[in-house]
């Protein structure tokens, strides 16, 4: 396995330590619970926003803790939802009188851990609400299924509620905003290669040199179907063909377009995809007024990308526009 790693079991703690050392003024690290939180959290005048999930999705979520975004992130091990106790202890430590908002990508393990933690915290008298994000169009949704997965679109929910919380919004208002943003956000992921968890040391699945996997999640699990490699123009057709009709996004609407790298794909390819998608959307009468290109929610070293569209209105644009300061930065 070709990775920068020591003992795979220490992969997550060693990464978290690096984040803390790189951001001594703004972040704190609590090793017992894989917890990264803002140095200034909790605050009495602000709802505390906590996101948990498995690790391996960096910069989500431990690297987007900061002003205008998350107050804390308590990841589990690679691809494993955090143990209930991590979430419970994190909630207890960062509880604000204005309440706590738990952001959870919709996966069985994460749902269980956060629901149990919420019950435990409420028993302690903490005012807690939980928001489930499920933007992945690859998963068929019905009452018979576990529902859709939360993937990169999650970033927009974090950003929106983060901005609103910073300006003093109360818990109910944050839930309203979060649910609204989630309801107008759609994502599809396409992988060129599988990813290799440090503890496993080998790829989670095999893809031939001319094969791609369409509809992948962010845990290296296989997607909905396998296809032959195709040129970027056709890849974008796959993305838009699945995402646009799903909401649907319609002629005359303004959207935010995110091309998210899954970890192993260079940003040059992401901008290439962005340019093609931007023009194909314009050709459909859908105008992109906000762009996001880079790595937001990854799947370790998987080569691939996801495309996310968010239907914009004045309220959402203003929240996305608000300033924020997070660990992952250029300067």
């Amino acid at each position: 396995m070709k990775k920068f790693v020591n003992d795979p079991q220490q992969f997550v703690p060693e990464m978290l330590k690096g984040i803390a050392l790189a951001n001594p003024d703004t972040l704190r690290y609590v090793p017992e619970y894989n917890l990264i939180h803002r140095a200034d959290a909790p605050r009495d005048d602000k709802v505390t926003i906590i996101q948990g999930s498995g690790s391996g999705h960096e910069p989500a979520h431990v690297m987007v803790v900061g002003r205008g975004m998350l107050d804390a992130a308590c990841p589990g091990d690679v691809f494993a939802a955090p143990p209930t106790d991590y979430v419970y202890e994190t909630t207890k430590l960062l509880a604000s009188p204005k309440g706590v908002l738990l952001l959870v990508n919709n996966y069985t393990g994460d749902r269980m851990a956060f629901e149990m933690a919420q019950e435990m915290s409420e028993a302690d008298g903490v005012n807690v609400r939980t928001l489930f994000i499920d933007d992945d169009v690859a998963v068929k949704d019905s009452t018979w299924t576990v529902g859709r997965r939360g993937v990169a679109g999650n970033f927009f929910v974090m950003k929106a509620v983060g901005a609103a919380a910073e300006s003093g919004a109360d818990l109910d208002e944050l839930v309203r905003i979060g649910e609204k943003v989630n309801s107008v956000t759609r994502t599809l992921g396409i992988a060129l290669t599988a990813c290799t968890p440090p503890a496993k040391g080998s790829p989670l699945f095999e893809l031939a040199d001319d094969e791609i996997e369409i509809g992948v999640g962010i845990h290296g699990e296989p997607g909905r179907r396998r296809a032959k490699w195709m040129p970027a123009n056709e890849i974008v057709d796959e993305f838009l063909g699945a995402v646009v009709p799903d909401l649907p996004f319609e002629r005359g609407e303004h959207v935010a377009l995110m091309i998210n790298g899954l970890g192993g794909t260079p940003i040059s390819e992401l901008y290439l995809l962005y340019g093609i998608a931007h023009e194909k959307l314009a050709a459909q009468g859908i105008s992109v007024s906000r762009s996001y290109v880079g790595e937001y929610c990854t799947s370790l070293d998987m080569a691939g990308a996801s495309l996310t569209l968010v239907k914009l209105d004045a309220e959402i644009e203003e929240l996305l526009d608000a300033p924020a300061e997070v660990a992952v930065r250029v300067f």
């Binding site: 079991q9 498995g54 589990g76 091990d77 690679v78 691809f79 494993a80 939802a81 955090p82 143990p83 209930t84 106790d85 991590y86 996966y107 069985t108 393990g109 269980m112 851990a113 149990m116 690859a138 998963v139 068929k140 018979w144 299924t145 576990v146 997965r149 968890p197 503890a199 496993k200 989670l204 699945f205 999640g217 845990h219 290296g220 699990e221 296989p222 997607g223 909905r224």
Partner: protein
């Protein structure tokens, strides 16, 4: 004659050791249509159970099992933490305050554990999860014991039933958990959790007599 506590200790230690030994195998099973962390999660959690082995209260089998459950749910992540934690918690609760539980009480406690998983996972028989191995395993155990077989024989029957049921999950489509995202593609490989249950049951069957031997 071994007490219920002895038996609980034997069963849990065997499961814990087997989980640690099979980390890679269970992980590979979870890689087929899952995310490959199942073996890692179980191993890390049960390692903790073994590490704190002597610290658990041992008022009776039930109390002991409940204490183990707390460690499991506080140390195991993913889906496995909550569901295995819940199972041990409910089963232990059913045995608490019963130093010498009857066969009925034992079976009822095990069923309580299974019901805990179903409730927590909003899942049931047929969803291609470990439930599909647990239910027939406990049924077989009950029938054998009610038929008057000795414990070793009953555990054998349980192991056979678990294995058969685990293998049978191959032809099922996952309706719950991460594997369900792959839809039809989940058909053709067994469910990782169900296979783990079979492996645990078989190990118990193989080693059952040694345990009782040790007590004499």
């Amino acid at each position: 004659m071994s007490t219920a506590l002895d038996t609980a200790e034997f069963v849990i230690r065997t499961v814990a050791q087997t989980a640690v030994e099979n980390e890679k195998y269970f992980g590979d099973l979870d890689s087929v249509v899952g995310d490959g962390d199942f073996g890692y999660s179980l191993a890390r959690g049960f390692e903790q159970v073994l590490a704190h082995w002597d610290e658990f209260d041992r008022d009776d089998a039930g109390v002991f099992t409940v204490k183990v459950a707390t460690t499991i749910s506080s140390r195991i992540g993913g889906t496995s933490g909550p569901i295995w934690g819940t199972a041990f918690m409910r089963a232990g609760g059913g045995l608490r305050g019963k130093p010498e539980p009857t066969v009925d009480e034992v079976i009822t406690a095990l069923r309580a554990g299974i019901d805990g998983i179903k409730k927590r996972g909003n899942s049931d028989v047929g969803d291609k999860t470990l439930i599909d191995a647990l239910v027939p395993a406990v049924d077989a155990l009950e029938q054998s014991l009610l038929a008057g077989d000795d414990a070793a024989t009953a555990v054998d029957r349980m192991a056979v039933a678990a294995r058969t049921a685990a293998d049978a999950t191959s032809s099922m489509q996952a309706m719950r958990g991460r594997a369900s995202y792959t839809g039809e593609r989940s058909i053709g490989s067994p469910d990782a959790g169900a296979v783990a249950v079979a492996v645990f049951a078989e190990r118990l069957a193989q080693t059952w007599n040694d345990q009782t031997a040790n007590d004499h």
